[in-house]
Symmetry: C2
Subunit: 352 residues, 2 copies
Amino acid sequence: MKPHTKTFSLRTVEWKNNAVVMIDQTKLPNKLVFVKYTDYKDVANAIKTLVIRGAPAIGVSGAFGLALAALQSKARTKEKLVGDLEKARKTLFETRPTAVNLAWGLDKIMKVANEINDVSEIKKSIIQTAKRMAEEDIETNMKMGKHGSALFSNNDTIMTHCNAGALATVGYGTALGVIRAAKENGKKIKVIATETRPVMQGSRLTAFELKHDGIDVSLIPDTAVGYAMSKGLVNKVIVGADRILRTGHVYNKIGTYQVAMMAKQHKIPFYVAAPLSTFDLKSDPKDVIIEQRKSTEVTQIGDRKTAPDDITVINPAFDMTPPELISGIITEAGIAKQPFEESIKKLFKSRL
Amino acid sequence: MKPHTKTFSLRTVEWKNNAVVMIDQTKLPNKLVFVKYTDYKDVANAIKTLVIRGAPAIGVSGAFGLALAALQSKARTKEKLVGDLEKARKTLFETRPTAVNLAWGLDKIMKVANEINDVSEIKKSIIQTAKRMAEEDIETNMKMGKHGSALFSNNDTIMTHCNAGALATVGYGTALGVIRAAKENGKKIKVIATETRPVMQGSRLTAFELKHDGIDVSLIPDTAVGYAMSKGLVNKVIVGADRILRTGHVYNKIGTYQVAMMAKQHKIPFYVAAPLSTFDLKSDPKDVIIEQRKSTEVTQIGDRKTAPDDITVINPAFDMTPPELISGIITEAGIAKQPFEESIKKLFKSRL
């Protein structure tokens, strides 16, 4: 597989000389620090303390954690090695037990271990599989970029919300991957990033990674979305997704819905970029529970209080953008369009 | 004039025993501290350092500053006293030279000084005039409350953006004054306050003053406006205004426009509350320049950086809400309704 280093210099997580190298995202945007781990327990701790975040990124990190555990194991038999791996899997899993991708990454590696008999072959194969998972994540993002890039024109200014970037994936990113691809195709692109309160992924991560890659990016407070659109500063919008239903209902970071609605009112195309693994083909909107996050995200920043003590806070993690506000959903298999139910079905069929 | 202390315990600025007493708003929301000044230079400094802010509040503070200057003056002749006042007027004016209300408050006092001949009569009359200006600000707000209160129903949850409250006026508030009036009329009212990035007047001031008055208030990040409306958590919206044109175009804190648009899409009535002094009957939308504020409001909170160094920031102070999104504009003379141009003209005529 060819290396993907053309225009994206940020790689969130990587396997290098029998070690896992990650960007320490807790230090962003002030410092770009890479950390190197050779003990799976350090990887577990990194996931737990948000050194690394973003569903695809932590899925692959879990797999790399197990690869380290395999190397660390002194087992001479398959049974002992699988036992050591099982212990490591448990430690890694418990760092973010509700993350679907983490369980997926760990299970995939355990399956490899169980299928092979020779101890050194198991170790070799685990490392290879984990590395392939990382490459596949980037491949998926680049395919999305290829499909999505055609939707953007030279001199477009694209608004994005939250961070669906290299820093949420192994590299390249989903929504920001499409922006990177458009730029690689020779289009002059500007980006407007929303701050994305309360956790500020827009200012901390998106502004950082685009600036780092030399992409023209401006930051706005979330309150200036309507202003920017009404002043003609925005041609397109692109965001990522946490979950997409078969009907085209998109669950994504809180604030996405109002960005989509404002875009519709200003006749600005609104796109979503997400891999097929993000689709939940079984649930209906009424089944999806939107979790509330802790109030201190809204009432203080660092140690600094910004609201009165004991104030009641409504702090939903996500909101739902209905299909009628969405111009297209960009996946690695192509672009789903209205009516989404039919179009999404086709994309999945094309993958069989 | 009867005292207005029924249900609002917060008085932003007040004349008490030949001194000016203010809430130090730089200490909010963590501490409610009152400061007392007997030197006009301290009042000037308070305006400059945002101990007090909000157009009506600083207009009256300027007048109180001149009242202190009159008391401080040792002049025995009218000429000397007016000279001392002129010097104080200059110092006070230069604290916020673009604030229309500050110039208005200072001019009104200077006119009193120029019209009377006896030194001790001038001093007495200045103090009386300044006190009357403060009372009139509250009277105006209470009249707005009386008119506006009828628009709200028992068990309404009202969303508000920024702080159009007691803390922006001498007391009672404009938009929050209407909420207070609805509550005084026996209606059960809940409020949802938006954080209002970047300066966070919603969390720092609105949440504080409503909670202080025992009004049920919840705080949301600006990104959760659409979520709250789509979940049926909001029945009405009310905001203040910085400037209203004869056509009903409303200039208010950045973010107001998108709150209004989201309200329209969810069929939630959107009201503006502002005194007639807020109306600019001469300008057209094309004449109104929206100032950009400094980027550090968006890139750091206190000393804590939240965005990469040297990032480009778009940070408009205000946005424009077009008349078609507005259900009514509540003034002390009554409520303007669509079509606004005609309705606003009538309100002004009724005051002649």
